[in-house]
């Protein structure tokens, strides 16, 4: 599967050299915003911010399984990175789960 679409978001597999590790994430709903997602991530105990001063525009969060979500507020780009030790069969499932949880985080008060 290369693309998953729901009412709330679109998740699209990027063609990199690894199978199913990187996914572009976009909100389908105009009312959904990257700033709301950032606030949701900051308040979530499931995600920890990974700070890297080399990239002033880039914000990165990592979860307990070492999956990442990377965001560039300036351009609105959001990428989900599945950790490479995740088995091939589980990568799409993991990406889908993360996309769902990002969508929920964005809409949580």
């Amino acid at each position: 599967m290369t693309r998953m679409e729901s009412q709330a978001y679109c998740l699209e597999k990027k063609t990199t050299c690894f199978n199913s590790l990187r996914w572009d994430f976009r909100f389908n709903n105009e009312s959904s915003t990257i700033s709301a997602l950032l606030a949701g991530l900051a308040n979530s105990s499931d995600w920890a911010e990974s700070i890297d001063t080399l990239y002033p525009r880039l914000i990165s969060y990592v979860d307990k399984d070492k999956h990442r979500v990377m965001l560039i507020p300036e351009t609105g780009r959001i990428e989900i990175r599945i950790h490479y030790t995740t088995s091939l069969a589980q990568r799409c499932i993991a990406a889908s789960k993360l996309a769902g949880s990002l969508s929920e985080l964005q809409s949580s008060p």
Binding site: K14, T15, T16, C17, F18, N19, R22, L54, Y55, P56, R57, L58, M70, I72, E74, T75, R77, E79, Y84, T85, L88
Partner: protein, 422 residues
């Protein structure tokens, strides 16, 4: 015992080479590494190819490990072996466990760069017929030799199980190598040698921009080291800090063997060595430019061909490939890439003397690929650096004529590659 810290890696402003202590190093991705190894095996056959790769790895790793183990002031063999395996991991080559003394023994590997990345790239479609961690095997041999103060060709290491063949981990046997001929030491390429050479540098186009981007990327790569498994996943590729002497020896030894034994295929070999430059630029340079990290550092890639070219050249410098400069550039028509330093010529001239022909194959391929990516892709859109795109760009016939018009290998003051529309 002192393990290497961040000061061990240095980047030269003079040459734009990179060093780990006294040994030249570069960054290359698994696409390039696997492609080059396949090229060697295709040219020589697996039996001869694995010998060439093992010997090159052992020699290159010995140079590196001699310096690193000495600097670590490790006292016991166990400590010295730990220095070697820690370094291997930091460089992104995977996790090694070496259980050998000067009489021999065994070693094990997990997440080894070549085997693991082969499995990731090809494992679902191709069956691997031979173990392919010859770099690790050579590294293990060098480690045992250096740790126990043995002669440079004292140990032979054979990979008996390989993760690319779906084994749960890689396994190696370490034995004494019985050689009929006395070991003949060959000159090595050191930091001192590279940095003491006089170079002729002429400022090219967009130099300030290139320097600024290259410095930013070096700050990034300074942080890059293997994770707990010993792998570096960055820019959508597995990255290694690697030894140019290894690449050079396998390439030029293979070319020499082919010239002597099968001269009719030399052209095909050199074309493949040039293609390694395409593979590198497409995957690593393309991966860097389209990455979140690049966008986070510098914003989206420019659509201006001049700015794009400056970015490509800066990436080449930051990866340790040499002082690439833009002598001339007419978008869509012509690129003249000039460099007073190249890791290919630095090796070739020391080991083989002056060449009769220009032989910076990697630089030739890289220059052509840079021109291709700038001219053929729409940089205002998101670009998917897929295998299909690679094939559509590089397998549809020669759009560009590429010539190395001046070569450090033939004694010239610089290497110059001219890429022009056919």
């Amino acid at each position: 015992m002192k393990l290497l810290d961040s000061t061990a890696r240095t980047c030269s402003e003079k040459t734009d080479f990179m060093y780990l202590l006294d040994t030249p190093v570069v960054y290359h991705c698994h696409h390039f590494n696997l492609f080059l190894e396949q090229t060697i095996d295709d040219a020589l056959g697996w039996e001869e190819g694995q010998k060439v790769r093992f010997n090159a790895a052992r020699e290159a790793a010995r140079q590196l490990l001699s310096g690193v183990i000495k600097a670590a002031e490790a006292e016991t063999p166990a400590e010295r072996l730990q220095v070697a395996t820690t370094l291997f991991k930091k460089m992104g080559h995977g996790t090694l466990q070496i259980l050998s003394d000067y009489e021999g023994g065994e070693a094990f590997g997990e997440y080894l760069h070549y085997g693991y990345s082969w499995l990731q790239k090809y494992g679902h479609t191709v069956k691997q017929l031979h173990p392919n961690d010859l770099f690790a095997a050579g590294y293990i041999a060098a480690a045992v030799e250096v740790v126990y103060g043995l002669e440079p060709d004292a140990m032979l290491v054979t990979e008996t199980e390989c993760s690319s063949m779906k084994a749960p981990r890689c396994a190696f046997t370490v034995t004494k190598q019985i050689s009929d001929e006395p070991f003949k030491a060959l000159p090595t390429i050191s930091k001192e040698l590279c940095e003491s050479a006089e170079i002729t540098f002429e400022t090219g186009l967009h130099e300030d921009k290139i320097i600024a981007i290259a410095n930013g990327l070096r700050d990034f790569t300074a942080q890059v080291e293997g994770d707990e498994r010993g792998l570096v996943e960055a820019f959508g590729v597995f990255v290694t800090m690697h030894l140019p002497s290894y690449y050079n020896r396998i390439s030029y030894d293979t070319e020499a063997w082919i010239q002597e034994n099968r001269p009719q295929v030399r052209f095909a070999l050199t074309e493949l060595l040039k293609e390694s430059g395409h593979v590198c630029v497409f995957n690593t340079f393309g991966g860097i430019l389209s990455s979140m990290e690049w966008e986070g550092m510098l914003g989206k890639p420019s659509t201006d061909p001049h700015e794009l070219l400056a970015s490509f050249i800066a990436i080449g410098r930051a990866l340790g490939f040499g002082k690439w400069t833009i002598k001339d550039f007419i978008p869509g028509e012509k690129l003249v890439l000039r460099t007073p330093t190249s890791y290919e010529s630095a090796y070739f001239t020391v080991r083989h003397g002056e060449s009769d022909v220009p032989n910076n194959y990697f630089v030739q391929g890289a220059a052509q690929a840079i021109m291709t990516l700038i001219d053929d892709l729409d940089w205002s859109q998101e670009i998917d650096f897929s295998q299909d795109l690679y094939l559509s760009l590089f397998k549809k016939g020669a759009k560009w004529d590429t010539q190395e018009t001046s070569s450090l290998s033939t004694g010239a003051a610089y290497t110059e590659v001219v890429v022009q529309r056919n």
